[in-house]
């Protein structure tokens, strides 16, 4: 299984000289595995650049099939979809999974002509074949990949999932936006991420910043450390960098957490993690 990061930033794309190392695109992660179609976690602005990359192979010929798992529909997790060029090419197929009964109409709202000049490829006769699938807490397979989805706590007004993806005896978990207000919230996540090789976890707020943002849907980095320790995670990847965080500040955070008994890394746009078959 190979994991590539196309977007690591929370809330809003941040083009800036100070975000060149960790990246300014909103969240998007690609997973490749033997005998599995293209799998994508979240569809922030990073999805556009992944799309450009995919056009070099089957997707450029209208023969690709991508599966996109959305955690939730806040803009920073879906705003890349209108600019995912493979969707403009007839013959391609895109399956989008997410946690809301209204998901299809929410994605069409983003494509409405008031906001978006790109042809609405959610219509049957335009571009790729698109399928929208509502999911809740569930386990299912996409090719050789086993997916576990769990409902997690983020913010009032939106339903949010976390994901665990397994292949070849290895596992990763993805929780870009999460807050632990009750013990139950914590237990749900510990169960989901138990023993994964890589945990991509919300690191938008430092422990100092968290108290003034309590209830706003994001935990502190210390919560991520606790979860990783409790669930015996191989490596914790600090993910969802705050839009105001410069590369130097992310470096400093990483240095501060380097000695916690857990292996910690900070997500860099463009990074790849290869997990060898067990």
């Amino acid at each position: 299984m190979k994991v590539k990061l196309w977007g690591t930033r929370a809330q809003v794309p941040v083009p800036h000289p100070n975000t060149q190392v960790y990246g300014g695109n909103t969240v998007c992660v690609e997973i490749e595995a033997d005998d599995a179609p293209t799998l994508v976690l979240d569809a922030g602005m990073g999805l556009h650049w992944l799309g450009n990359h995919l056009l070099k192979n089957a997707f450029g010929r209208g023969e690709g099939h991508a599966h996109i798992l959305l955690t939730h529909v806040h803009w920073d997790h879906i705003q890349g979809i209108p600019f995912f060029t493979p969707m403009l090419i007839p013959g391609n197929r895109v399956s989008i999974y997410g946690p809301d009964a209204e998901l299809a109409s929410q994605l069409v709202t983003q494509m409405h002509t008031t906001f978006c000049p790109v042809p609405n490829f959610f219509m049957d006769d335009i571009g790729a074949g698109v399928e929208v699938v509502e999911i809740g807490k569930s386990t299912f397979d996409i090719g050789s990949l086993r997916i576990h989805a769990a409902l997690i706590n983020h913010r009032a007004g939106v339903t949010c999932l976390g994901y665990r993806v397994e292949a070849g005896g290895r596992a990763i978990a993805y929780l870009p936006d999460v807050e632990y207000l009750e013990e139950m919230h914590r237990q749900e996540v510990v169960d989901l991420v138990q023993g994964v090789d890589l945990l991509f976890h919300d690191a938008m707020l430092t422990a100092d910043e968290y108290p003034s943002h309590r209830g706003q849907g994001h935990c502190s980095i210390d919560d991520g450390i606790d979860i990783a320790t409790q669930a015996a995670v191989g490596r914790l990847i600090l993910f969802s960098h705050h839009p105001d965080r410069s590369d130097a500040e992310v470096d400093a955070i990483l240095a501060a957490y380097s000695d916690n008994g857990v292996e910690v890394d900070a997500a860099r746009e463009g990074s790849e993690y290869a997990l060898q078959r067990d």
Binding site: V12, Q79, D100, T109, T114, C116, G157
Partner: protein, 288 residues
Amino acid sequence: MQITFRGVRGSYPVAAPHSVRYGGNTPCIEVWAGETCLIIDAGTGIRPLGKKLIEQDQREIHLLISHTHWDHVQGFPHFDPQHNENAHIRIYSLTHPDRSLCEIFRTQQQAPFYPVSIDAVEAQIEFLELTDGQPFQIGGAQISCHRLNHPGVTGGYRIEYGGKVLSYISDVDLYGPILLGNGMENGSQEEQRTWHKYLQNSARDLAHRADLMICDTFFLPDEYQPDWGHSRPEDAVHLGAEAQVQSLALFHHEPHRSDEEMDAIQERYREEAPCDLFAAVEGMELSL
């Protein structure tokens, strides 16, 4: 008039190494007409501007929206003066036939898409819908908004203050063969001819003898698509000559255009233009 380019990139924000120098934020122009704070468009460039306006406790803010495609409104939820209880933000745009400006901004800024509803923020937010060609006044600035040829409902702005003129003409296909705006597409041949003439006159009126014209130049000639609603540098140069502008800023850069390509475009069209010409750079400040 003091002008700062806060976002110059078209279509979507580009956080990538190829565009660091010209900038990757979507359209936003900061304009000070004396003490009056005017902002044109709310692309992601408005986010850092908001932080500055909070620092200086700017309370009266006037936001002129050209149109409501994502790249021109997507920064607004991240505009911090929304959370200043003393701020009064007035948002202007041409009237849409099918829904109110308030409703459009509310769709962007409410659950499930955004956690903080526009109806719940601390600042007072007021929506003012404009009529095509009707002049209006903000502080000492005389402003008009004219319809442009672009999908949906799009207007360009002309701002006159202290004897100087700024024209903002984006997004637009200035001389394109196809009518793209709401209500223009399906008329008779005669109606279509009238629309073409009307739109070209509108662009000329907006630009007339401007000290600075900021103009959509998304396409290069070999990339041009007649149904997208964007112009080429030669279109902007042509309008600049017709309207006798002093200075022309190439704007709304194509997302994949690298800094080196922008340098070359600026070089090339500088030679052709009868006025000053430059490619807009994020962070650039000008005084008229």
